[in-house]
């Protein structure tokens, strides 16, 4: 397992490294810290040679990456790379594909005054173009310990089952509980809708367990020798939560979030309205969310599910 971390020598980059360490610890993954430097152009009246500036830039980048590597605990293997490209997002996706990475991890911008997350241009380009899941660290993410719980935001649109299978695999692999979260923005009496949402979530979960179930015990065995896990045990570690509020943000606020939690969300819903990305449900969730969020591309599951019945989840579960 390899995770590519989009690093920059600022708070955002530190957040990303911390999240990468948290994610890697539970999976024995190695990190590739990637720092993108712009391609230097020759321009201006007086000569401003690119070669000389490139040297200074690379020297500085190397120094920054040394500092970044020092942030990673010795239990997590890490490598550093300098890439030069005019588009950060492009360079990161290229790096992820070249290195065969299973996830891209970046920090959200820190300019949002009151909200924890603001989508920067890099993040938003990544979310729309990445072929691997993208993890976004909230501003000021300090934790460097393994995850303690995984939440999976469930929509009612197609694709939810696949996301859930991915989430189940991720939770099983890390031996942490899974919480299926349905967020509703409602006015007044919410009981009916909440029940419907709960029912839908339960059905999806059952489907996902059935689809991915057989593989789970074996997976677990491989990870924790001598301790076989049954489907019941996996099931016991899942719960369904329906949260509602007058707005999605309020619903997110009402939920309790553990420090070591992440929220998984499918990107099909994000990709639907690119132009109104921040107006979408996911964008609103993102703004209120106190924990990291992992956006899983919709074609990611499809691509990997075709492999075999036993691959309960895509690469996240493969050894």
């Amino acid at each position: 397992m390899r995770y590519v971390v989009g690093y920059s020598a600022n708070a955002r980059g530190h957040d990303a490294v911390n999240l990468a360490v948290s994610l890697a610890l539970g999976r024995g993954a190695s990190l590739d810290l990637v720092l993108v430097v712009p391609e230097v152009q020759q321009s201006g009246h007086a000569l401003a040679p690119k070669a000389g500036f490139e040297n200074l830039l690379n020297e500085q980048a190397q120094e920054w990456l040394d500092q970044a590597l020092a942030l990673v605990p010795s239990s997590v293997p890490a490598q550093a790379h300098i890439r030069s490209h005019d588009s950060d997002a492009h360079a990161l996706i290229e790096a992820a594909e070249e290195l065969g990475a299973d996830m891209l991890i970046i920090g959200a911008t820190s300019t949002g005054l009151f909200k924890r997350f603001t989508i920067g241009s890099v993040a938003s380009a990544l979310l729309h173009a990445s072929t691997v899941p993208v993890a976004l660290a909230p501003h000021g993410y300090h934790r460097q310990e393994a995850l303690t719980r995984i939440s999976c935001g469930l929509g009612t649109r197609a694709g939810a089952e696949k996301l859930l299978e991915f989430a189940l695999g991720m939770a099983a692999n890390r031996d942490v509980p899974l919480r299926v979260v349905s967020l509703l923005a409602l006015d007044g009496d919410a009981a009916d809708s909440a029940d419907a949402a709960r029912e839908y979530a339960a059905k999806c979960l059952a489907d996902a367990l059935a689809a991915g179930g057989p593989a789970d015990p074996g997976e677990a065995k491989a990870e924790v020798p001598g301790e076989a896990k049954t489907e019941a045990q996996v099931e016991a570690k899942t719960e369904i939560v329906v949260a509602h509020g007058r707005s999605i943000e309020e619903a997110v606020d009402r939920l309790d979030w553990e420090d070591g939690e992440v929220l998984l969300i499918g990107s099909s819903r994000l990709a639907k309205g690119r132009s109104i990305f921040l107006g979408s449900t996911a964008g609103r969730i993102l703004r209120a969310l106190p924990v990291p969020m992992i956006v899983v591309p919709s074609d990611y599951e499809l691509k990997h599910l075709n492999h075999s019945a036993s691959s309960d989840t895509p690469r996240e579960a493969q050894q």
Binding site: P38, A48, P49, A51, S84
Partner: protein, 520 residues
Amino acid sequence: MSADHAMSKPSQTGQQTGQHTGSQTEQQHGLSEKGLKAGSVGLIGAVVIGISCIAPAYTLTAALGPTVAEVGVQLPAIFLVGFVPMLLVAFGYRELNNAMPDAGTSFTWASRAFGPWIGWMGGWGLIAATIIVLSNLAAVAVDFFYLMLAQIFGNPELADLTTNLPLNIATTLVFIALACWISYRGMETTKTVQYVLVGFQLLVLAWFSISAFSHVANGTAFDATAISPDWFNPFAVGSFSAFAAGVSLSIFIYWGWDVTLTMNEETKNPEKTPGRAATITVLVIVIIYMTVALATLSYAGVGDTGLGAGNPENQGSIFAVLAGPVMGPFAILMSLAILSSSAASLQSTFVSPARTLLSMGHYRALPQKFGRISPTYKSPSYATIASAVAAAAFYVITRTTSENALWDTITALGMMICFYYGITALACVWFFRAEAFSGVRAFFFKFLAPLLGGVILLVMFVKTAYDSMDPAYGSGSSIGGVGLVFILGMGVILLGVVLMLVMAKLRPEFFRGQVLTRGH
């Protein structure tokens, strides 16, 4: 750090193979290996970069008037002659750039050749020149911004807003701040935009020339003047003073051309492309300059009244005055061409002083903070902002003290370019002195050409500086009986000397030659 942590060399897609080898000492004393990039720019691309660095529409509007004021109808001759020292110095530049590619250019090269003191002043000259051109670019952009507004709304009063001092200064500062912000964010003009801007400038300048000549042919020109062979005779210039002033101004009009010569590693064919691109660029530029110069002189003459090119009122920005009568309703295209090219140039020129300041900070010739690179945008952060502040301050001072700020800044600029180009050319001669007689090629490019070019430019510099003490020099502004151009030029150089002495006190290691060592 754990043993697992390994640094991997950039191994990607062939964009960049930056080298980070070298011990601490090597990084401090020598110049690190340059990053090579596989070919990306073809011949046309290189020519476009060269022309866009010169920004001919802006250059002509800024330099044509002041040059006519010095040399009158011998304008074409001076434009041709001015290219010679430029070419000679550019050969030296190319040799130095090949031997020591470095962001500090003149600063680094002069330090390696002559030691820290002259090196520091060489760097200062380069920074001062680029700061001055930044303020001039912004001012020209502002003039044409208001002129364009007037043309759009058909209200000539809007064009006069630029003569409103507080409004003019405020707008200029906004332009400088915007360009600084764009540069700080590390945004650069894309190739497509460059192609469009260059094409547009050439088109509009051709349009202007054709219109001017047809006015002459139709008898509707302001002061139709017959072209005479005498215009091409540099020896017909009245005095050596006028000649020197004219040459130092025409150095400015070719400034930026040398970029093409140094584009080795990014061209598709490093053996041939830079040389060919430089040749084509200079041919294109010379043809434009000749055509526009002849068109302007034939149409307007050099008289000092009305539209005449010799009218002091018109010196600051000749096209602002002439485009309307010559091009009629299409004059707005000229405004657009100059506004876009000077605005693009303003933004891209910020890179030059910023990189030099960064390099000086890096080599500890300036406070450490100048060496900062923004972690978010990966651009020289402190150096870019410092350049903007300096350009803004320079503009405010000139604008408030001079009767014709544009004119005087261009004259001071020509002087400053002669100063640092001269130092750089002689640095080339001295740096390569051991190889100078090792072959014909080395003799010409490393010794003779830069020596001649450097001496010519330094002579022009001294002569112009001396003449500019005359209160009537340039636009005729003066302070305490001394010409403003002299005060601007010498003031900037003296300021450099003072800052250098302060720096030597604060951070002596550079000045003891412990950071950049002399010689090979």
